[in-house]
């Protein structure tokens, strides 16, 4: 165990710094829309960093290296999938999603399907995915504080929950955009610096390997009887699930237009590509120096334990402190982004109808954070990266078909979309709950439940298409107008319909479709 002071100081410093930026940095959250998105005044570099900062969660910072340490080559697919998901998002949804003007996936459902029921169903799934994704963040925080200072497991979770609550309630999205951009660079630094020191030390020690590096079922890919299915199912979940994550969608609204959304996504791809080189090296070094974690089953801690396993004295404490700071940055950024998105949906669609929207938003944040803490107590400790990937599987089975069919196929109807969301959502959630509860099904059902996306996502698609074809008469009347809105560049002066996610705040004089400054005369 390291000296606890450095770790404690590091964690407290990150929490205070995050709080300071969040609460005092930008004091402009006057209107409700500031809470939801940063009024679209954020530049592409800041925005790409913010997306990266928000996306790189406990799973990327701790979990990816942990799984590589225990499972070897097959675990490399997690990092690849989490990056490739952005390529799929870029190619199929980035620009249309931004052009839709939707804050949330529920907004998108209502805009495209012209149905309040579709909106409600989407909102339920947003909350479901959000809580599933928050769970491993809080779990990782507990693990980190335990590793750093020996605190009981709940302490870290409660600390992160408290900080997130204060930031979100006091500043909303605007403050979080600045915080998130800062978090990406903090996380990258917190992984790169210790790694450089550790690699130099490893070279000096003779660059030795270890016998456990050469075990065939670790170093070679496609291990185990169902490896082909499991790897491809993981690919389906991560490649298709990214676009359906609530906090990712909200981020896209902060781009100025669809073109900027595409360019920002390229930036994100670059930032993630750099970041995901690092967990692999941590996993391999961990295999040499921290193999004891594989025996004890605590591989999620490898990033934090590696310095004290390789070095001694104050230097090791410093590196551990820096890694702990980065890990906390990861929990705080992802958790606050998710909390904002999920609370936004919850307050708009479930608590709606009361007088004060800002108060609803705060209440919703408290509910979401509280529910996650309760679930944390009830779940068994699945590895952090696995737990996050299960949330991807639900997103790939629900919002992925909704977005793809909604954007590219005029034939999608509200009954079709709702049936698909319910079918894909129910099946994938059932599998995820079985996995989180630690249930291992016998025979072929085992892999099917452990990694459900490869069959639940096609079911979601098939049901949406099938029911839409049967109910072809109930196509939304404004679907053509919506398609114009989703696919034409913003500077063209065409009618994009009147949908406005801010409509409840009654600002009809300022439709989102035509943004005054860039409007230009019609050309005929």
């Amino acid at each position: 165990m390291v000296h606890t002071e450095v770790g404690l100081i590091a964690v407290v410093a990150v929490c205070l710094l995050t709080l300071a930026i969040g609460v005092f940095g930008v004091r402009v959250s006057r209107t409700t829309s500031d809470f939801y998105v940063a009024s679209r005044s954020v530049g592409p570099v800041v925005n790409a960093s913010a997306i990266g900062g928000e996306y790189l969660s406990a799973a990327s910072f701790l979990g990816a290296a942990g799984l590589i340490l225990s499972q070897g080559a097959d675990a490399l697919w997690y990092s690849v999938g989490w990056t490739a998901g952005y390529l799929v998002l870029l190619v199929l949804v980035a620009a249309p999603l931004r052009r839709s003007g939707a804050y949330t996936l529920s907004d998108f459902a209502e805009l495209r399907l012209e149905s309040r029921a579709a909106r409600k169903v989407s909102s339920v799934i947003v909350v479901l995915i959000g809580v599933l994704y928050l769970l491993p963040q809080f779990q990782g925080a507990g693990l980190t504080l335990h590793t750093l200072v020996g605190a009981p497991g709940w302490a870290g979770s409660v600390l992160v929950a408290a900080v997130v609550l204060v930031i979100v309630v006091s500043g909303g999205m605007r403050s979080i955009t600045v915080t998130q951009a800062f978090q990406y660079w903090l996380k990258l630094t917190a992984l790169v610096l210790p790694l450089a020191v550790l690699l130099v030390h490893w070279r000096h020690a003779g660059g030795a390997g270890a016998p456990q590096l050469h075990v065939a079922d670790w170093v070679e890919p496609m291990q185990g009887r169902y490896a082909t299915y499991l790897v491809y199912s993981l690919m389906v979940a991560t490649f298709l699930g990214t676009m359906g994550l609530p906090h990712v969608v909200a981020r896209f609204y902060t781009n100025i237009d669809g073109r900027a959304a595409r360019r920002t996504t390229i930036g994100v791809l670059g930032l993630l590509s750099v970041f995901y080189l690092l967990p692999t090296v941590y996993g391999v070094l961990g295999r040499i120096y921290s193999f004891r974690l594989v025996r004890s089953g605590h591989t999620d801690a490898v990033v934090l334990e590696l310095p004290s396993d390789m070095l001694h004295g104050f230097g090791a404490d410093l590196l551990t402190g820096l890694l702990g700071a980065g890990a906390f940055a990861a929990f705080l950024s992802t958790s606050s982004g998710l909390a904002v998105s999920v609370a936004g949906v919850l307050s708009q669609d479930v608590l709606r109808g009361r007088s004060d929207r800002v108060r609803d938003f705060r209440l919703a944040t408290a509910l979401v954070v509280g529910a996650t803490l309760v679930l944390l107590v009830a779940s068994t400790g699945v590895p952090v990266a696995r737990a996050v990937e299960l949330a991807f599987a639900v997103a790939a089975s629900t919002f992925c078909p909704l977005l793809l069919l909604g954007i590219w196929w005029r034939g999608l109807t509200a009954p079709g979309a709702i049936s698909g969301l319910v079918a894909g959502g129910t099946l994938s959630t059932a599998a995820v709950i079985a996995a989180l509860a630690g249930y291992h099904a016998p025979g072929i059902a085992g892999p099917l439940l452990a990694q459900p996306a490869a069959w639940t996502a096609p079911v979601g698609f098939a049901v949406m298409v099938g029911v839409s074809l049967v109910t072809a008469g109930r196509r939304p009347p404004g679907v053509m107008r919506t398609m114009v809105r989703l696919h034409t560049p913003e500077h063209l002066d065409v009618d994009r319909g009147s949908f406005d996610p801010e409509r409840p705040t009654a600002r009809p004089a300022e439709p989102t479709a035509h943004r005054g400054a860039q409007r230009r005369p019609a050309t005929m």
Binding site: L76, V80, A84, T228, M235, M480, H487
Partner: protein, 99 residues
Amino acid sequence: MSREIDAQSQLGEALLRSLMRAQLRLAAVVLLLLAGTVGALPLIFVLVPVTRRAHLLGIPLPWLLLGLLVYPVLLGLGWFYVRYAERNEAGFVRLLDRE
């Protein structure tokens, strides 16, 4: 021409349809390239077992591919997509501006 789109005339619909088709075709090309490169790796590892054990520059080939080389491929595909997606849109805008 943009009034044709506003009026949702047959011409307007055809214009929009052509833009959507071009963008979807481009997306399909990029996704096929993704499937043919990154997506094919597990299948290659299974069908050609030698690739699981091969080394390049002292690093096991699968680790070199999945840990490093996959990322420039993803970035390259993204760059390719953005370039041609913007070109498609510029073509659409020129079409509307005509007359």
